[in-house]
Symmetry: C2
């Protein structure tokens, strides 16, 4: 793209939406944030996006704007719809891409939020060296973007890569958002880790630094911090969570034979507390022929940047 | 390819190897079979292949032969090696492609046996209408070939699609060949189904038509036949097996968002006895957005033909 051209990247999350104006060099020149959950209707949300962006589009020139790329949960690349999102207020099939295009009068492309972030890591982050990788977000939810031969795996309808909703423990913990039980997201998301810790706090024989907080206050960050201080309960939480994550990773590896797994999102801040047991468990659940080949790495971009850049990349030419 | 051109397709299975000479129209003009397990060394096996094929290569003309395509367990597309095959006598890393090429003096291409069969179903069978499908073999083992945008998913090293070795029941039944526990293959292969039936025969309160055979004699075919006669134990075996299979299919669907699953191999002869509970379980384990979209179909080609044609397709131009 020419030097005055620019794109807009939007990363829609359950709690916050992040917007960025991305220049021709892949730099984010303006950054904004909107509280997604404050908007009961996606149409009001789109009007807020318009209100924020319009002054900058006027400033940088509408004709220089290549378009808007959007990453959103359950976003449908081919239709532009967001369909039955699990972690958003908006329900059913939402014609988000078309409505945004109509209001903004700019080309819009849309994909899964996790796919967008994976493309960011693939183009500019830790997944760059690999033609085949799986980028997993561990945050409020567990999302994934699967890169095969340097391309995003979209599947029939652009909905591939919903790895957070694969079953890791049949008959296990119920996940209300998806209506499924025993999913990866039920255990390996930030709320999943908190729930595992709360379950352990109720077990006999455990004492924990976590007891300094009320059960409503405990976050995954507290659990990481206490584990770093050697708290047995919190270390056990990461050992178990990493064990399940690693088993799921082995299953995914048997599917697409990737060179690397890249992790980002809030929970991945726990770093090796989580990734070491995950590596160990993955290796234990791999066929001989896959062992000791697959790298497990933290993402290299700040989470919001990866998603914004990946989304913007959808409309870059 | 011109009308006198031909290819050779070889499908190496744990028990038998099937060879076919395939004409320019995709017809199999000559068919052979070798007992794979009778050959302790792959080099002796290759000499037997040479002995069988040479008269026909002489007859049809060596210069008309485009090459040999091979489907074999754990075959490595890029190196031509068979690596640590689970169900073969040959152990470690076997330079099968190179050795066969040397002996036959013809171009050789090699892939996973399940991948070869999937390509056969994709090019000429039940998977033809779908750009995105997953073809699963249910036989001595459980193999798969994953078709994405009309291409075989190979992964970094050509080893993608080992879906039989994904874990469906953590801590479940041990599978000696793979060294893994609770895998799809441990339950949904022909030997897995037999083992499930034997376990049920030992449970109190079951009587079954299977009791007419010794425990060493029972095959998955007996179990199908008794289930068709309404035998409660055998119906329960398929209900449970289909339940696990369907859950695994939902996991795979969340990965690549296919339009269809196609089943073939010995156990798929049980037809809807197995596929009905599998469909039901798959739907129950899918996210809303995937429900009622994915077809579950039996393969359309005789198993050995699919594998031979798919293998031959590797060297067709």
């Amino acid at each position: 793209m020419n030097s005055s051209a620019y794109c807009i990247g939007i990363d829609i999350g359950g709690t916050y939406t992040k917007l960025g104006i991305v220049d021709s060099g892949g730099g984010i020149i303006e950054h904004f944030q909107i509280p997604t959950s404050a908007y009961k209707r996606h149409t009001d949300f789109i009007l807020e996006v318009q209100r924020i962006l319009t002054p900058f589009i006027d400033k940088f020139g509408k004709s220089n704007c290549l378009g808007i790329g959007v990453g959103a949960p359950n976003a449908h690349y081919y239709t532009g719809n967001i369909e039955y999102p699990v972690n958003l207020n908006w329900k059913g099939i939402i014609p988000f891409g078309n409505d945004l295009e109509q209001v903004m009068q700019l080309p819009v492309k849309i994909t899964n939020d996790a796919n967008a972030a994976a493309m960011g890591e693939h183009k500019l982050g830790a997944a760059q060296p690999f033609a085949h990788s799986i980028v997993i977000t561990l945050g409020t939810g567990v999302g994934a973007g699967i890169i095969i031969q340097n391309e995003l795996l979209l599947g029939k309808d652009g909905l591939a890569g919903e790895l957070g909703h694969t079953i890791v423990l049949p008959g296990g913990r119920y996940h209300p958002g998806s209506g499924l039980s025993g999913t990866l997201e039920a255990y390996c998301s930030a709320p999943g880790v908190v729930r595992t810790a709360l379950e352990k706090l109720e077990q006999v024989g455990y004492t924990s630094l976590l007891s300094q907080w009320g059960t409503d206050e405990i976050t995954s960050k507290h659990i990481s911090e206490c584990a770093q201080q050697g708290d047995k309960l919190c270390l056990d939480v990461f050992e178990e969570t990493g064990g399940l994550l690693g088993m799921a990773m082995a299953n995914f590896a048997h599917f697409s034979s990737p060179e690397a797994f890249i992790f980002f999102g809030g929970l991945s801040g726990a770093g090796n507390l989580l990734l070491n047991p995950a590596r160990k468990s993955m290796e234990a659940h791999l066929l001989e022929v896959y062992k000791n080949k697959i790298q497990v790495l933290p993402g290299a971009l700040p989470e919001s940047d990866a998603a914004i850049l990946g989304a913007a990349a959808l409309v870059m030419v």
